[in-house]
């Protein structure tokens, strides 16, 4: 396995963040749905962040993911007491209800790219998602045994 591939970098980062997760205290039930969903979100965010940083800034979608996470964090910090989370403000897509517009919504950072570049970004994104799923599945398998 390549020493410095995306997969290894992602796995390193992800496991590190998992370690740093707030451990559930013994008193609080770890099976409450709220807890679990919270942890789900944290884990997902950790996965996204570590994936994006493993990929590096050279891809549009990884930059967009990092930007999104930072924005959310800033919003949380600033508006913690305020109600009403603002929806992620994406730029309006002029493509309408077509498949291209759908794809743009799916791939982070794909709102303003032309189709050719969008397809390239999608390919890389799919590859990295596959890696992510594989690593996470491995981890789950390891820990559940």
């Amino acid at each position: 396995m390549k020493q410095n591939s995306i997969r290894t970098r992602f796995a390193c980062g992800f496991l590190r963040t998992l370690k740093r997760l707030p451990k559930t205290r013994a008193t609080s039930p770890s099976t409450s749905p709220g807890e679990i969903s919270k942890r789900c979100r944290i884990i997902k965010m950790a996965a996204d962040a570590s994936m994006a940083s493993a990929v590096g800034p050279r891809r549009v979608w990884s930059r967009a993911v990092i930007r999104r996470i930072r924005l959310q964090q800033r919003q949380r910090l600033v508006r913690r007491t305020r109600r009403g989370e603002r929806k992620k403000s994406g730029k309006g897509v002029g493509g309408g209800a077509g498949q291209t517009a759908c794809l743009r919504k799916l791939v982070p950072g794909g709102e303003n790219m032309e189709l050719c570049r969008l397809l390239g970004e999608t390919a890389h994104y799919i590859k990295c998602l596959n890696t992510q799923v594989q690593v996470m599945r491995n981890i789950v398998d390891l820990f559940s045994t």
Partner: protein
């Protein structure tokens, strides 16, 4: 004599021009050096005596010309080829020379357009158009490659040309060359018979091909036969080909897409696949990890080292990284091994500042370990620093205030959060 010969040139040059167009490419290859020479320095001064030379050469017929023109090894090649190439004997002599010198003469003519001593305005009009293309292109050409491509082309005109062009990377061409050169040549050729049109179309393609080879800054495309040649459709074609190439690549990535051939179907499949992958990461795996994680905090490192990085343990260098934070690492050796292995190429970043900022607000030794691991793996580049900041923000917040889950949720789950809190 000078008066009579220009008229002869007039007559011959019109037919010569057709052949010129058929052979412009190799002319350019062999003459590019001369052209530069001509273009830059002397040609404007040459007009008079040069044309006199040409006229003499006309009289002298083909191969004696070599002595007249500037020394160029490519020239001999071109001339030799030219000698073989033309089966037609009739107009060949003056035509042949006209080809060689007419090419130069075009430059001369274009250079001397303002000069009253320029001989033929007819030639100017006709040749100027070709000359524009020629002068635009030659600077980009190197004779060696051009000669090779010329030989290839000699073997098999049409098919090889297209094959070669498609082998090479297709790029977009300069607008002027496209519009002026090709369209004007096609205009001119529309007056001639089909053979001439073919050959000139070939030469236009040849020119585009040659310019493809040499000039890396511009993107050149070849206008295929029977297709529009203006720059917009060329650009469109390039774009379409790029898109189809990427669609093919995506077809390989997405499983089960081999049978689907349409773009729309492929896009649907791709969208479904991306959605399913994202859903997997989000729901299934996060859920499992959330359920599993609390019980297995400290085993992560061992398992990590063993399973995910089977080859790493053998490569553990025990370099300076271990010296930096050795006491903290004692209980977490496997992870350290892994960390060092992965961090080898990036190098060790002795960025104590980062470590301190990370560890200072967190008194827990476990997190100290994490931050030092961070330092090793991730160099002090800004990008990696971002990740550390992200994690800090996320998890510091999580620790200091027990589960302000609002921080971590996506916007779509805002309502859930409110309910929970």
């Amino acid at each position: 004599m000078n008066r009579a010969l220009p008229e002869m040139l007039h007559c011959t040059d019109l037919s010569v021009l057709e052949r010129q167009q058929a052979r412009i490419k190799w002319q350019q290859e062999s003459f590019h050096q001369q052209q530069r020479y001509f273009d830059e320095n002397e040609f404007s001064g040459f007009s008079g005596p040069f044309q006199a030379q040409q006229f003499q050469g006309l009289v002298n017929r083909d191969m004696g010309i070599n002595g007249l023109v500037k020394a160029d090894p490519g020239l001999d090649n071109g001339w030799a080829d030219f000698g073989q190439f033309d089966g037609e004997g009739s107009g060949l002599g003056p035509g042949g020379f006209g080809l060689g010198s007419g090419f130069e003469m075009n430059h001369g003519i274009s250079r001397t357009i303002s000069c009253p001593s320029a001989a033929a305005e007819v030639e100017v009009e006709v040749a100027a158009e070709t000359k524009q293309r020629e002068s635009a292109l030659p600077e980009k050409m190197s004779s060696a490659v051009g000669r090779e491509s010329f030989k290839k082309r000699k073997a098999d005109k049409n098919q090889n040309l297209k094959a070669i062009a498609e082998e090479e990377s297709k790029k977009k061409r300069i607008k002027e060359c496209n519009e002026e050169g090709e369209s004007r040549i096609t205009e001119q050729n529309s007056n001639n018979n089909n053979i001439k049109r073919e050959t000139s179309a070939d030469t236009s393609k040849d020119n585009s091909k040659v310019s493809e080879v040499q000039k890396p800054d511009y993107i050149h495309v070849r206008a295929r036969r029977g297709q529009a040649t203006d720059s917009h459709s060329l650009a469109e074609r390039v774009r379409r080909e790029k898109i189809s190439e990427r669609m093919k690549y995506l077809q390989d990535l997405v499983p089960g897409c081999n049978k689907i051939t349409g773009k729309a179907g492929m896009l649907d499949e791709i969208i479904n696949y991306v959605q399913s992958l994202q859903r997997q990461v989000e729901q299934f795996l996060s859920m499992k990890l959330a359920a599993v994680n609390p019980t297995l905090n400290f085993n992560i490192d061992n398992l990590f080292a063993k399973e995910v990085f089977p080859a790493c343990t053998s490569n553990f260098p025990m370099g300076a990284s271990s010296e930096i934070a050795n006491p903290a690492y004692l209980q977490f050796n496997p992870l350290q091994q892994v960390v060092s292995c992965s961090g080898l190429e990036i190098g060790i970043s002795p960025d104590m500042a980062i470590r301190r900022t990370i560890s200072a607000p967190i008194p827990i030794p476990e997190t100290f370990l994490d931050s030092s691991c961070f330092d090793q793996i991730q160099s002090s580049s800004a990008w990696d620093g971002n990740l550390q900041n992200l994690y800090n923000m996320e998890f510091l917040q999580g620790r200091s205030t027990s589960f302000p889950a609002q921080q971590f949720s996506g916007s779509s789950e805002a309502s859930n959060l409110k309910m929970e809190m």
